[in-house]
């Protein structure tokens, strides 16, 4: 069987101007940071970016906003990054609405599972208030399900999904590490073409079958990201610069 391992350049040839792109990661922890860096370098424009949070200031996804590559953001938040906040407030980054985080992930899961959408009670009576979101394509639809009012939330899918995992084999089986699992296993299934950036590529048979977080069947391309050691260094320095970690005297 053909190996799914390829260069980042080859894998990202599917990301073009106007691509609907979904990225795994939670405020850029467990994010495919090497692929994001390469997309910044490629300079593709008019992306629709689907990500649970915009990212961290001065790092990762934030460079995409700074570079004005993202036309629309579909997310739960805009304020976790100074760059996303700036572009949004200057009218350069469209957000038609904010989704509660749990709603966002269920829309992605619906997309991943081939469903049309989900019924969500969270925010009914709040998010459907007239005038709250002025750029909606159509008003939010509420239905009564056995006495519980729910939004009808359509599924979210993407042309390309990029996730970050700990390790992969050549078949594309992925194993995740700790809280970097976050939304990655769901995002991996919600893309038509799925790229996994991993810390380590291991021979087939290394990952115990019950430890596979995403079966290779859902993955189209595997790319080598930073090793665990490099990644620890990257984030420690980042956290130190943000005051989230201290070096003890």
């Amino acid at each position: 069987m053909k190996s799914k391992v390829m260069s980042i350049d080859d894998a990202l040839s599917v990301v073009k101007d106007g691509t609907r792109l979904m990225l795994g990661g939670f405020i850029d922890v467990g994010s495919p940071i090497m692929c994001i860096e390469k997309i910044v370098e490629k300079g593709v424009k008019d992306l629709t970016l689907i990500a649970v949070t915009p990212g961290m200031t001065g790092f990762g996804k934030s460079m995409l906003y700074k570079n004005k590559q993202v036309k629309e953001l579909i997310s739960s938040h805009v304020g976790t990054s100074a760059e996303s906040t700036k572009e949004y407030l200057e009218g350069e980054l469209l957000m038609k609405e904010f989704f509660p985080m749990g709603t966002w992930i269920e829309k992605v899961r619906a997309g991943a599972m081939g469903l049309g959408g989900v019924l969500v009670p969270v925010g009914v009576g709040i998010l459907d208030q007239p005038g709250l979101f002025e750029n909606l394509d159509k008003p939010k639809k509420v239905i009564d399900v056995d006495g519980i009012k729910c939004f009808v939330e359509p599924a979210l899918t993407a042309e390309v999904a990029i996730v970050k995992a700990w390790r992969a084999d050549e078949l594309g089986n992925l194993e995740y590490r700790s809280t970097s699992l976050n939304d990655n296993a769901d995002v991996a299934m919600a893309g038509k073409y799925t790229i996994a950036e991993v810390n380590e590529i291991v021979p087939v048979g290394t990952i115990s079958p019950e430890k596979v977080g995403t079966p290779g069947v859902f993955v189209n391309a595997i790319v080598q990201g930073q090793t665990v050691e490099q990644q620890d260094k990257t984030y420690r320095e980042l956290w130190l610069s943000q005051g989230k970690l201290n070096i003890e005297e």
């Binding site: 405020i27 509660p100 009670p121 990644q231 984030y235 989230k244 970690l245």
Partner: protein, 219 residues
């Protein structure tokens, strides 16, 4: 103690041993520094873990172990990782016992507003996990300063900003008072030492009655 420490210390008294807790950033997170003796919690973080521990040392920080603020944390024995979907499902579906949340405004109906202010005509910064938390959590404690920088009450008859949750707040803690939320009226439980009920009335827009167990705040 500064105002934030006073609020955090008082909020800690609302936490009971064994509770599953999700604490918002700032004063709520500070509350764990003041947990009464014998109280230990199962800390939930929405990015996907039950049972998170303190910040690691620099050389021990693991780039795949973080909390919802994307800060490095540790995973003590007994911790459990889950997907984001499972974690938000736990919040929505009542598996979190208690949350302490910061707020922009809160009101006598138990409504809370903490996700949006208008900037350049746009709502900012966003919802994140706050609505899932207010939707499902059994005990919601709101911590905030009693008034804004202009001296206006943040404890309203009805919140003006977009709501995060409706009729969900159980207790409100400020540096000056503690209220429970009753039936469209607040119940004043405690006031800070040196203040009078009249003084609280002057700085509180919401209607309130005084509890039978009314006492001085333990700070």
């Amino acid at each position: 103690m500064n105002i934030r420490e006073i609020i955090a210390k008082r909020a800690a008294l609302e936490l009971n041993d064994g509770e599953v807790a999700n604490l918002g950033f700032g004063m709520p997170t500070q509350a764990v520094n003041y947990l009464p003796e014998g109280v230990s919690l199962i800390m939930h973080t929405e990015n996907g873990a039950f049972g998170i521990g303190p910040k690691p040392k620099y050389e021990e920080a693991n780039s795949d172990v973080s909390n919802a603020g994307s800060e490095p944390v540790t995973l003590p024995p007994g911790a459990a990782i889950m997907s984001l979907g499972t974690s938000l499902g736990a919040m929505r579906n009542g598996y979190i016992d208690v949350t302490i949340l910061g707020a922009l405004e809160v009101d006598q109906k138990g409504n809370i507003a903490n996700w949006a202010v208008k900037r350049k005509g746009l709502w900012w910064p966003g919802i994140g996990g706050a609505m899932d938390l207010t939707h499902g959590t059994k005990k919601i404690v709101v911590t905030l300063t009693h008034t804004d920088k202009y001296g206006n009450s943040k404890i309203k008859k009805e919140v003006n900003l977009p709501k995060t949750g409706i009729n969900c707040v159980k207790t409100i803690i400020t540096e000056k008072a503690v209220f429970d939320v009753g039936d469209d009226i607040l119940i004043l439980r405690e006031i800070a030492p040196g203040l009078t009920i009249e003084e609280i009335k002057e700085i509180t827009e919401a209607d309130f009655i005084v509890s039978e167990d009314f006492k001085e705040m333990e700070i």
